[in-house]
Symmetry: C2
């Protein structure tokens, strides 16, 4: 079998983003960690880490981490039967990639009790869907929540529901830019908010109103910042309905065009052989997500 | 003088994260953009772009972008006098790096009117302070808001005030983990929330209570997600007071130890020769930030 002391050292360096913290977490000296990594590399005959700040795994390093992640999930299933085998005595961690808007809204209430009950710690990674699935493929995460259905090899995807987005702006913004109504001629000159280069929701919305091509926009890669900028009248943007219930009630944010939402599906991707805990979390999410998400039309 | 057609193509490819979008924004074909980049590289005698997805600048590419950014800021000063010189007819953009918590709280109300009045579009980049300053040094951003005072060469820093953080948890979390009071013995076993590998606020808070070394924690790289996880009882964490006024009033979040805040200073770093608009924004922030920030003790 593999030497898991060496593999744990590799996992710790990557997960803790450095040799020093890895040493602290494993209760070893930094030079012991260093030696384990070197020994691992000597055995494999190639480097497993790129020595940068923070250190990142090489291609073969990624494949080893993928393996470690899956072994850990399988070990978890045995732990309740044979607790003495777990020499670290630490609670289980799951690394999960998810979209920023889910994390800013329904994710925490959906998993809170589950985590407390199973003594589960989360390493959350905020990624747009393409990168999230890439991390899944590389074995860097145990699961991934994203808008894309197609699972990577070895994983399954399950539809949890859809997030409903509405194109919102402050009343002052609408008065300034659309005093005589929203039109395809005015839209490109009224600043939009765009989350980042992979966010095409605003493009889709504009296309549905007959606007193609370039439009003025701010870039704001933060869910909460997005709402704050909308409220402060910097621009209009597509915002999860879940996140602005209060603002819609108070009419501090209003829809550009009445009742014209965009629904974005959310799929939960998880390893097929991901162990019992991941399976239970998957069941839990499948059961409960409909409290926050809408059915996909 | 430099050929700014070539440099604009480089800037567009990096800012739009791809050749296709760069072409769209500049109203050129993709092959025209490609040729301009190749011509630029032929003149310089070395590559300016790493052809990855998204493309990233090489070392020399970064220095050219730095230069473009500064030239744009200087051009802005002339535009009101000689508007015809601006052949693109686009509003001004400023790329600014800032911490996630500022963006989630006071940033938007502080700059909203300023942006509308000056027809300024923002490219916001969320970065922890080290990376923010690195981007400043590389000329990728015009300004940077972070906790570190020391400016990079060619820039100035000005103290805007401090954000006040409080260590908060839900009443249910406190009942579960600290039924008989918060103690140094219990703290490491009660899951904390940590923003990412460079977030040491929770470590500082624990150290002030006599806890050193490893403690259980979730990782959550999202300001809003941080609050949601705290509310859902997954852990305790240091949260900007500004962001949870309502939760503190309702007592849906409570302090672990009464009235024991941590104040984190915020410095505004900006180029010395950054042009009039950046100067005006700096003055505006210096004047208005105290509405949201506390004086640094």
């Amino acid at each position: 079998m593999f030497d898991y002391k060496l593999l744990s050292a590799l996992a710790a360096v990557v997960e803790q983003a450095g040799f020093e913290r890895a040493a602290q977490v494993l209760g070893l000296s930094q030079s012991a960690i260093s030696q384990r990594i070197k020994l691992l590399e000597a055995r494999i005959g190639q480097p497993v880490l790129v020595r940068a700040t923070p250190p990142s795994p090489t291609e073969i390093g990624r494949r080893l981490l993928n393996h470690v992640q899956q072994v850990r999930l399988l070990e978890r299933d045995l732990q309740s039967a044979v607790p003495a085998l777990d020499d670290e005595g630490l609670p289980e961690r799951l690394r999960i990639a998810l979209n920023a808007d889910s994390l800013a809204t329904w994710w925490a209430p959906a998993v809170g009790d589950f985590c407390a009950e199973h003594h589960l710690l989360l390493d959350l990674v905020v990624e747009d869907q393409t990168v999230g699935l890439k991390r899944m493929r590389a074995g860097e995460v145990a699961a991934c929540l994203c808008a894309s259905e197609r699972p990577v090899a070895g994983a399954r995807s399950v539809l949890l529901g859809a997030m409903r987005y509405r194109a919102l702006a402050s009343p002052a913004f609408i008065a300034r830019h659309f005093a005589s109504g929203v039109s395809a001629a005015l839209l490109p000159k009224a600043p939009a908010l765009v989350f980042g280069p992979d966010d095409f929701l605003q493009h889709r919305y504009l296309a549905s109103l007959g606007v193609d091509g370039v439009f003025e926009h701010h870039l704001c890669p933060s869910s909460e910042g997005f709402i704050r900028l909308t409220e402060a009248g910097l621009g209009w943007g597509l915002v999860p309905e879940l996140q602005v219930r209060e603002q819609l009630e108070n009419a501090t944010l209003v829809e550009l065009v009445p009742d014209k939402p965009i629904d974005v599906p959310l799929y939960w991707h998880h390893w097929r052989n991901g162990g019992q805990l991941l399976g239970q979390l998957t069941e839990h999410l499948s059961r409960s997500a409909s409290r926050w998400l809408v059915p996909l039309a």
